[in-house]
Assembly symmetry: C3
Homo-oligomer: 479 residues x 3
C-alpha cells in the first residue's frame, strides 16, 4: 500500500498516547494487508461485468453519483445543478466536469473532520497517488492527474478490484433482477468473487411507487403467476433459489421500523388482494412488511440465506429534492427506532433457531446499549451489523465498540460492511475500520482488559474472520 | 487576562497527553484574546443603559439571581429562602447577604466537577482576582474582597463589558417590549454594541399566563389593533421592523416540541378568536405554535432576521417552587425531543431557501447524531446552535463535537452562545468553549484527521467567525 | 489483597497517559482496601445463616446460577441444558460439572472485553489464586484447584464475607418473607452485618403470577386480613415495621415504567377488589402500581426507609426460555424509559420533602443527561443510583460519570451497588467501580477541573461514604 508523503500520517486515527499508539500500530499491521470482505454494498455489477469498463471523469467518479459528497455541498448553498446531478425531468445541469470539480475543490473545507473527507483524502492520495492537498488552487492540476490515471488500464474497475485485494464483494439486487451482470462475470472467466444479494423491498413494501409493475415483473422472472399471497411467497422462494445459484449467501431488507408481527394466511392474502387492486392502506403496508419479515426469517431457516435488516431512515425527507432529482440524493433522515418490542414476535418464533442469522443495522445509536447489545447478547439468531451510514466514521465506530461490546461481546457482531456505491472508497472504508478497531483494542490492552494474545486474535476477527463467517463465505470457499 | 496563581491551571480542560496538549495550547492561544461574540443571552440591558449601574453585593451578583447556583444547593436540602431568593408573595427570606454567602461557601463542594463550579472559579479568580479557594473558612474574607472590588468603577457593567472585549451582545426581549434600555444605550454615545432579539413566545403561546393582556400590549406598542389572526401577523411584522431598527439581527422562539404544521388562514383565525375569548384548548395552542413557527420562517425569509428555535424544556416542573418563587427557578426539566417528523413541514416549505437561517437548540443529546446532524448536513437553511444549558459544559461540548461534526460538518454549526443571565460569567463560558474546541481540534490533529493549517482556521471559525457570520453581524459591521 | 502474577495488571482500567495513571493509582490506593458497603443485591441470606454453608462445585459457584454467564454462552449457540441450568419441568440437563466447566472454558473467549469476563478473571485470580489463564487447555487443572479451595473452611461464605471486608450487606426480600435466615444470622452471634430489603413487587403488581396467593401469604404473615385496599396498605405498613426490626433501612421497587399517579382511595379499592376477583386488567395493574409508588413514598417519609426504584426491563422477553427454564435466565431486555413526565406526580407531592430519599436506577442511558441529572440536580428527594446491570461496566461507569455529574453533581448520587447474586464477584465489582472512579477523578485533576484535595475527598465519597449516608447505615451504626 502506497502512502502519500504528507497529509495522511501513517499513524492516523490512533490515540496519541505513545503506549496505546504502539500497540494500535502493531495490531493494525497484522490486518492492514488482509484481503477485503465486502458482504454488503451498492456497487453496480456492470462495472465488473465488462473488462473494459471505466469510471469516466473525476467528477463522474467522485462527485456526481455520491450523495455523501453533494449533500454536504448542498447544505452550504451549492446547487445540485451546479454539481451536475441529473434532474429527473432531464433539465439542464452543469456539464463541464472541470467546473464541477472546481466548485468541489473550492468547498472541500466543508468536509474537514468528516468521514467523507477522510475517504476522499485516502482515494486521492492512496488510490490515485495525488500528493497535493485539494483546494481551489490545486483543483485543476489534480484534475489533470486524475484524468490521466483514469485513462490507464490499471485504473479500470477490475484492476482496482484486484489491487484492493477484494476477496468477495456482494451487490444489492432487486428480487426481480435477472442478474445479467453477475452471469456475465461468471461467464467471463474472471476470478473476482462477486455475488448478488436478494433485496425484495420493492415487491414487499406495498406502497413502493410501481409496486404493481414490480409484481408483474416478479411473475415474469419467476415463471410463477403472482395473483395471491401464496403465489407471491412461491415466487420469492423461486427467486431465492436463483440468487443462490449465482452465489448469493444473504438477503437484505430495509424498513422504516423494526416492527414484526405474524398474520394468518387469510389476512395476508386479503391485504395482498387489496394491494393488487391498488387499495392497500398505509396500515396494510405496515402490517404486511411486519409479516413478511417473519416469513423471510422462515425462508432463511429453510434455505440458509443470511438475513440482513436495515432500519430507521425516512427516505426522501426533502420533497423538493426528491421531485427534482429522485431518490438517494442525500436527503434521507433517520428517526427514532425501537427493537425490544418490535422484534419480539420474530424472535419468539425464530430467535432460538441456530439456523437463522439475523443481522441488524440501525441509525439510532441510543439503542446500541439499551436494546441491541442485550438482544444480541442473548438470542442465538441475532448478530449486530457494523455502524451504518452516518455512523460509518471514526467516532461512530468508537461509540459502537464502547456501547455494544461490553454487553454483546465481539463475537455477536459481524465485523465490517463498507456499504458503498463509491468503488474507489472501498479500501478507505476498510482501512478506517481496521485502524479504529486496532486502536480500540489497543485501548483494551493498555487498560489491562485483554492481553496481547487475545487482542491479536480479536483484530483478525474484527477485520476479516467475523464477516467471512457470518455471511457464510468460508463454507462456500471450502476453507 | 490575569490568571490566578493556583487553582486554575493554565492548561485546564486540555487532554493530558503531551502531544495533544501542546497543540491544544497552540490553538487556544490563537483565539484566547479574540473579542467575544454574544449572539444569544439573557443579560438585562438596564445594566448597560446606565453608565453608573452596579452589580450590588456579591450575593446579588453570584447567588440570588442565578438558578444554576441555587438549584444545586436546593437539591441538597438548602432552602431557597435561606439563599435570599425572593418569594412571589413577598414573604420573608434571608436578607443578610453575608449569611447567604456563608451558606454558599460552606456548600461550594457540591459544585465539584460541574460547569457552574468552573464558571464561578473563573469569575472569582480571573474576573475578581481572588487567590484563595472558596470554602466555609475563606468565605467572609473573600466576601470582603469582592465587596471592595464591586465598589470600584472598573467593576461596573460597562467597564467589564469593555474589559471582557465583548464585540456584540444580544439580549432577549418580548415582542411587546419598547426597548427603552436599548434606545438609551444608543442615545448615550457609549460604543458598546448591544442589540435586542425578538422573542414573541408570550404572544404566540396561547396558554401563556396573561396572554390576553400581552395581546393588548401588542396592539398598543404596534399601533395595530389586534383582533384577528391577520392583524396579529401585521403587528408582529411591525414589531420586527422596530427591533431591526434597534439593531436586531435575530428572533428567538422556544417551544416544548419542535412540531411545525401549516394552518389555513381560516383555521388560524378560528383558533385566534377562541383564544381571544379565553377558550383556547391545549391542542389549539399546540397547533397555533406549530403554525406560527412556519409563519416566522416566512417572515425571516422576507426580512432577513435569523430564526433561533429552542426546544425541549418542561418549564416549572416543580409546582411548589413555581407557586412560591415563580418561573426560572432551576426546576425546568428536559423531555425527549423529535425533529425528523416535527420539522418536516417547515423544512419542506422553506428549508431549501438560502435566505433562511434556522438555528436549532436542543436538550436531548440522543438526537444529535440521529436527527440534527443529518438535517443540518442536508438542508441549506438549517444550522445547529451550540450545546445548550445543561450541556454547556466540558463533556457536553465534547459530545457535541464528537456526535455532530462528522455528519454535519463544522460549517453547519454557528459557534458559541453563552446564553447567560450572569454577566460576569460571560468570559468564563467563552473561555471554556475556546479551550474545549482547541482540545477537540488538537485531538483531530494528533490523530491525523486534519492538519495544523486546517485546525488553525477551524479554531477561529469555532471561536469567532461562525457566530459572526451566522448572526449576520459582519454584514452590519461592514466587514 | 493478593494480585495474580499476570493477566490482571496492577494498573488495570486506568488511562494509559502516565500523568493521569499516576494520579488514578494514588486515588485508588486511598480506597482500595476500604470496607465494602453493599446496600443492594441478591445474595441468598441462607449462605450466611449457616456457618457451615458451602458454595458447592466450581460450576455451581460460577456458571449454573449466573445469568450473566450463561446468556452469553447461549447467544453463541451453547444450550442451557449443556450448562446444567435446571429445567422448569425437571427434565434432564448436564449433571457432570467438569463437563459444564469444560464447555465454559472452551468458550471463555466470548467474554473478552466484557465486565463478566473481568469479574470472572478477578474471582479466579484474586479470590481463588489461580495463576493460569482459563482456556479449554487449562480447564480441568483449574477445576482441580477451585474444587480444592472450595473444600477449605476459609472459602465458606462467612469466611469470604470477612475476607472481603463487607461492612454491611443488604439482601432483597419479598414483602411476605418471614426472614428466617436474617433472624438466624442475628441469633447466631456472628458479627456480619446482613440486612433485609423490603421488595413488595409480588403483591403490588396485580398481574404477577400467583398474586392472589401472595395476598393470602401477606395476610398470614402480617396478621391482618387483606380484603381491601386499606387493609392491604395496613399489612404493608406492618411488614415494613417487621423488616425495620431486622435492620432494613430501604425498600426496593421494580417496574417497567416510571409512571406515577395518585388514585382516590375509592378508585384504588375498586381496582384492588377486581384483582381479588381475578379480574384486574393490564390498565388496572399499571395504574395501581403508579399509585402504589406514591403510597410507598408516603410510607418512606413516615418510617424513614430509603426508597429504591428500578425501571426499564422487559422481563422474560424470550418465551421459550421462560417456559423451559423460568425467570431470570438472561432474557430480560431493556426498553426506552421516561421520567420527566412519569415521575412528576410523585415529585410534585413528595419531591421537596427532605425526609424522602428516592434512589433511581435505569437501563436507558439516553436519559442520564436529559432527565435524570436535571431531576437529581433539583429535587431534594431524588438521588441517582449507580449504573445498573448491563451498564455496571467500565464504559457504563465512564458514561455515567461523564453524563450525570456535570448537571447532578457527585453529591446527588449514592456511590456504588454491586447488585449481584454471585457472592464471590462482590469484591471484583467494587474494585472495578473504585478503579474507574479513581481514573475518572484523575481525569478531572489532570484537566485542572478539581484539585487533588477535592479529588481525595471525592474518591472516598464515591467508594464508601455516599452509599453509607444515602442508605442511612451511619445513623444506625452511631458513627
Amino acid at each position: 500500500m502506497i502512502h502519500a508523503k504528507w497529509y495522511l500520517p501513517a499513524d492516523r486515527y490512533f490515540d496519541p498516547d505513545p503506549a496505546q499508539r504502539r500497540i494500535a500500530r502493531a495490531l493494525y499491521e497484522v490486518v492492514a494487508d488482509l484481503p477485503l470482505i465486502c458482504p454488503h454494498g451498492h456497487i453496480d455489477p456492470w462495472l465488473l461485468a465488462d473488462e473494459n469498463a471505466t469510471f469516466g471523469s473525476p467528477a463522474e467518479l467522485l462527485i456526481i453519483p455520491d450523495h455523501y459528497v453533494f449533500r454536504m455541498l448542498y447544505s452550504q448553498g451549492v446547487s445540485m445543478e451546479s454539481l451536475g446531478v441529473p434532474r429527473a425531468d432531464g433539465g439542464p445541469v452543469e456539464r463541464d466536469h472541470r467546473a464541477i470539480w472546481q466548485i468541489f475543490a473550492d468547498n472541500f473545507y466543508f468536509f474537514r473532520g468528516t468521514p467523507t473527507g477522510a475517504w476522499l483524502s485516502h482515494e486521492l492520495h492512496v488510490v490515485f497517488g495525488i500528493e497535493e492537498k485539494l483546494s481551489g488552487a490545486t483543483a485543476q492540476a489534480i484534475y489533470d492527474q486524475l484524468e490521466a490515471k483514469l485513462a490507464l488500464p490499471e485504473f479500470r474497475p477490475r484492476a482496482l478490484f484486484e489491487r484492493f485485494k477484494v476477496k468477495v464483494l456482494c451487490t444489492t439486487d432487486a428480487a426481480t433482477d435477472t442478474l445479467p451482470h453477475h452471469q456475465a462475470i461468471r461467464a467471463s472467466g474472471w476470478k473476482g468473487d462477486v455475488r448478488p444479494t436478494f433485496r425484495p423491498d420493492a415487491v414487499v413494501n406495498l406502497l413502493t411507487p410501481g409496486w404493481r409493475d414490480n409484481i408483474d415483473a416478479l411473475s415474469e422472472v419467476s415463471g410463477i403467476a403472482v395473483h395471491s399471497y401464496s403465489t407471491f411467497v412461491q415466487a420469492l422462494e423461486q427467486r431465492r433459489v436463483f440468487f443462490k445459484s449465482l452465489g448469493a449467501t444473504a438477503t437484505d431488507h430495509a424498513a422504516v421500523s423494526a416492527y414484526t408481527a405474524e398474520l394468518s394466511a387469510t389476512e395476508a392474502d386479503a391485504i395482498f388482494q387489496r394491494a393488487l387492486r391498488g387499495q392497500a392502506t398505509p396500515d396494510d403496508a405496515r402490517r404486511f412488511t411486519a409479516h413478511m419479515m417473519m416469513e423471510f426469517a422462515r425462508m432463511s431457516i429453510e434455505d440458509g440465506l443470511v438475513m440482513q435488516f436495515h432500519v430507521g431512515a425516512i427516505r426522501n425527507h426533502n420533497q423538493l429534492i426528491f421531485d427534482r432529482f429522485g431518490p438517494d440524493k442525500g436527503c434521507d433522515i433517520p428517526e427514532r427506532s425501537e427493537f425490544t418490542h418490535n422484534l419480539r414476535p420474530l424472535l419468539n418464533k425464530y430467535g432460538n433457531d441456530l439456523r437463522l442469522t439475523l443481522i441488524l443495522f440501525v441509525l439510532d445509536e441510543s439503542i446500541y446499549s439499551r436494546e441491541l447489545a442485550p438482544l444480541a447478547g442473548h438470542y442465538p439468531a441475532v448478530k449486530l451489523g457494523p455502524p451504518w451510514w452516518f455512523h460509518d466514521s471514526l467516532n461512530g465506530m468508537m461509540r459502537y465498540f464502547e456501547q455494544v461490546i461490553e454487553t454483546a461481546g465481539l463475537y455477536n457482531t459481524v465485523g465490517f460492511n463498507d456499504d458503498t456505491r463509491a468503488f474507489p472508497s472501498i479500501p478507505a472504508r476498510h482501512d478506517l475500520w481496521r485502524r479504529v478497531a486496532s486502536n480500540w483494542l489497543a485501548g483494551l490492552v493498555v487498560r489491562g482488559i485483554v492481553d496481547m494474545d487475545d487482542a491479536s486474535e480479536m483484530i483478525v476477527d474484527a477485520a476479516y474472520r467475523l464477516a467471512r463467517q457470518a455471511y457464510k463465505f468460508e463454507e462456500q470457499a471450502g476453507e
